[in-house]
């Protein structure tokens, strides 16, 4: 996605790691030299297409985003590079955060609808059988 010569690894962002059992998560932000904060590559550790593709979709739905894409660096490495470029001067962190929030809202809604559906189905089945489920 970007050439190494162009990149000057300006690690803006902590390499924090939180241990949660066997999984460490870390988030790094990498910016090319000479650009301002509106195009940034985020490196998400311990993640793969599961979060990458769904997050990319949510971020692309944001009209302020000019470009959003992700790649897995190598199948043996468990991390993804997610690049966001915004129109104008909006800092790239903002659509990233908004995408995460929106994805969470989607999941919450799916969960609510799903659990309601399951409850309805169980009730229907119980009333059809005439016995307690």
């Amino acid at each position: 996605m970007e050439e190494d010569q162009e990149l000057e690894r300006k690690m803006s962002g902590l390499k924090t790691s939180m241990t949660e059992g066997e999984r460490k998560t870390a988030l790094e932000m990498v910016q090319a030299a000479g650009t301002d904060r509106h195009c940034v590559t985020f490196v998400l550790h311990e993640e793969d297409h599961t979060l990458g593709n769904s997050l990319r979709y949510m971020i692309m739905k944001n009209p302020e985003v000019e470009f959003c894409g992700y790649t897995t660096t190598h199948p043996s490495e468990s991390k993804i590079n997610l690049r966001i470029q915004t129109r104008g001067a909006l800092p790239a962190v903002e659509p990233f955060q908004r995408g995460l929030n929106e994805l969470m809202n989607v999941c919450q809604h799916v969960l609510d609808k799903f659990e309601a559906s399951i409850k309805d189905y169980k009730n229907q089945k119980a009333s059809r059988n005439g016995s307690t489920f």
Binding site: L14, L51, N53, Q97, H109, F114, D120
Partner: protein
């Protein structure tokens, strides 16, 4: 008129051609289509989204999700297959194994056995922790010795008659409670899901004596947890020459049929709920990281 229809098809349908599938990728992003407002709208999503349960019993569940994009539906499928936590044997301490099955093969087989324990009641084990405490580990003992049956008929050749304990099943596994687990979990609830899984076969004089540590984990080990089956769609119509030109097969893009089959540890609807929560957990983790970075 035709143009509008074509655009609708491009946006909303995946077309099954005779030799391949077209229009696979989602294209309804803001700016791609003139006159359409494609920006993300939570209310519009909530209005159009629905879940219909088709069939449910204790081990399998089939339901439809309508109004969601492939990326997110696929994320749920991937999580169901590989990232819903379960309890499984991870470490095997072999005291004695004189069977014909090698230690590592035996350990591998034991790791695949589904254990009937609710993973939500356990914590992940800390890395580097050798012993394991009652809050993150379950212990099982497997001790079987095969002997010759003294009462067998002289000329019998049936192993079931000749030998005692020559087949090692999961029912031979006994649970060894740690700490206060005996109080928390009633007798008989912590066991392998099926008690008739054949682990190994023995002959007289051979013995298996080992201790298993079962921890909470995720990963391909438990890939049998769910079997989301892709819906198949008959393309037979293309064989018929005359019909070929008249018929156009297309699938609705945002309608997904999920078929989930559980190994028995958790009921399938709990599995799906947990999978959705796992995705939320991932988002929350990165949101927290972002907040931590921005605080400085």
């Amino acid at each position: 008129m035709a143009a509008a229809q074509a655009v609708e098809e491009m946006r909303g349908r995946v077309v099954l051609g005779e030799f391949g599938v077209r229009n696979v990728h989602t294209t309804d992003f803001p700016g791609n289509y003139a006159g359409y407002d494609d920006a993300w709208d939570q209310d519009r999503f909530e209005k159009n989204f629905r879940v219909d349960v088709v069939h449910m019993d204790e081990n399998s569940l089939e339901f439809d999700m309508v109004g969601i994009d492939a990326a997110i539906a696929n994320a749920f499928r991937r999580i169901l297959l590989a990232e819903v936590p379960t309890m499984a044997v991870e470490k095997v301490l072999v005291y004695n194994n004189t069977s014909i099955v090698q230690d590592e093969i035996l350990a591998h087989r034991l790791g695949l056995i589904p254990i009937h324990a609710d993973p939500r009641l356990f914590e992940y084990r800390n890395q580097g922790d050798e012993e394991g405490t009652e809050i993150d580990t379950l212990q099982f003992r497997l001790q079987v010795r095969c002997t010759r049956n003294p009462h067998a008929a002289k000329d019998s050749s049936d192993p079931n008659e000749l030998y005692v304990n020559h087949k090692v099943y999961t029912r031979h596994m006994t649970w060894v409670p740690l700490g206060n687990q005996a109080d928390v979990f009633p007798e008989g609830t912590i066991r392998p899901v099926h008690d008739d899984i054949l682990i190994a076969q023995l002959r007289p004089g051979q013995e298996i004596d080992l201790l298993m540590h079962c921890v909470k984990g995720i990963g391909k080990k438990v890939a049998r947890v769910a079997n989301p089956r892709l819906d198949t769609f008959s393309r037979e119509i293309f064989r018929n020459e005359k019909l070929k030109k008249v018929v156009r097969l297309a699938r609705v893009r945002d309608h997904y049929i999920f078929s989930v089959e559980s190994t028995g540890v958790l009921p399938p609807d709990v599995l799906v709920s947990e999978a959705i929560k796992v995705l939320m957990g991932k988002c929350r983790r990165f949101l927290d990281e972002l907040d931590a970075v921005q605080m400085d």
